[in-house]
């Protein structure tokens, strides 16, 4: 059974007992945070309206986001989430709002979480061209066939960052090209094999 830390509860305390309308506003701020990052200007106006410190507002929003992330990380069911929220100190009506927030923003949370996974450069595109070198300054008659490959890789973008592309220029000869295809075909075959399918099913 998941429970929130005291510090986390402390951050959320200002929200306890607030009218549902206000909590809805906070929820909107939390979603905004998830999609576009913190927005101090909005927090300042909210703080002026409620006549509290900006810090309090910011911590409350972050607390809400943390709540969503935690519950998503642990894949909480609706009833589990309900228990968690109620034991934390929210009332029934607030629980309903939070549950809705939790349900409708699962996809956003997931997307945000995957970007934190450690990952290498990711394949984006591949273009090729076939050349034959027939002469050079040092050897006037030769035939060196080569397939020049432009490999475009992308870095998985962090939140609020643009995707970065990296272009690599490579080349290979027909013999190695054949080998490459053969090896990668093996990978594809393996991915669609019984063993691999079974593994996928087990982990789902």
């Amino acid at each position: 059974m998941l429970s929130l830390s005291d510090e986390h509860k402390g951050h959320l305390t200002p929200l306890f007992g607030q009218p549902p309308q206000l909590l809805q506003d906070f929820c909107r701020l939390a979603v905004d945070f998830l999609r576009r990052g913190p927005n101090l200007k909005l927090y300042t106006t909210a703080a002026q309206k409620l006549q509290v410190d900006v810090n309090v507002i910011q911590l409350a929003v972050e607390g809400l986001v943390q709540l969503m992330v935690k519950s998503r990380q642990n894949n909480l069911s609706t009833s589990d989430f309900r228990d968690l929220v109620l034991t934390s100190g929210f009332n029934e009506e607030q629980e309903r709002i939070l549950n809705e927030l939790h349900d409708s923003n699962k996809a956003d949370v997931d997307l945000a979480l995957t970007t934190f996974m450690p990952s290498l450069l990711h394949y984006h595109d591949l273009e090729w061209r076939f050349d034959v070198q027939v002469a050079s300054r040092s050897l006037l008659k030769q035939t060196i066939p080569a397939v020049t490959i432009k490999l475009t890789l992308k870095e998985i973008p962090q939140v609020e960052e643009e995707t970065k592309y990296k272009h690599l220029l490579l080349e290979t000869d027909p013999n190695n090209l054949k080998h490459l295809i053969q090896k990668l075909d093996e990978a594809l075959l393996e991915a669609s094999s019984q063993h691999s399918r079974r593994l996928q099913r087990i982990f789902k």
């Binding site: 990952s119 290498l120 591949l126 076939f130 008659k141 030769q142 290979t172 190695n176 090209l177």
Partner: protein, 199 residues
């Protein structure tokens, strides 16, 4: 066809063919030496001093050595036949027939090696020589305890970068669909290459 050599090198060649300047023994030695020098680029020149020590005419030997190397390189560069090389030596450099024969034999033995060395003088992008892959199922991660996704890590091994950066690896990940896309593109390339081969 015959090699185009500068007057400087032609002089060296003519001197090398002259048996009063270069004795038969020195000729054989410098021929062997020239062959090893040109076919093994990292050749340590231990033998070089030995050929000059056997002759009182050290300057001629050095000149002949240079001319011989140039002849080998230029002939291989033009992909000269043995016959035209022999004719060239006999008519233009006035070499005696025995020496022509010896040089032609030496040339025949090393011409493809020299051409291999010549073809290695070029600049091109890293050359893929091998590939490794691993098929991964991501089951859990620090940020997300409930994800499942499968992906393939691909690693190209390349050669031919400037010295000091050898064996560079190109690593990246892709989903199965992306791998399929990449492989199909490579297959298309191979098909084109095969098509060109069968014209």
């Amino acid at each position: 066809m015959e090699p185009k050599l500068s007057t400087e090198i032609m002089t060296g060649l003519k001197r090398m063919g002259n048996s009063t300047l270069v004795s038969d023994e020195v000729f054989v030695k410098s021929l062997q030496c020239g062959m090893t020098t040109i076919t093994q680029p990292d050749f340590t020149s231990a033998n070089l001093s030995s050929i000059s020590s056997g002759s009182s005419k050290g300057d001629v030997v050095k000149e002949a050595h240079c001319a011989l190397l140039s002849l080998f390189v230029e002939s291989a560069r033009l992909d000269l036949t043995l016959d035209s090389l022999t004719v060239f030596l006999e008519t233009k450099a006035n070499w005696p027939q025995t020496r022509c024969k010896m040089l032609a034999d030496a040339y025949a033995a090393c011409v493809s090696k020299v051409q291999a060395c010549l073809s290695n003088i070029s600049v091109h992008p890293p050359h893929i020589v091998d590939v490794q892959w691993s098929l991964n199922h991501n089951t859990k991660s620090s940020s997300n305890k409930q994800t499942t996704s499968s992906f393939v890590s691909v690693q190209f091994e390349t050669e031919g970068l400037p010295e000091g950066q050898e064996d560079k690896l190109v690593k990246f990940e892709c989903t199965l669909a992306e791998l399929q896309d990449m492989v199909s593109k490579l297959k298309e390339a191979l098909r084109q290459v095969e098509h060109i081969a069968h014209i």
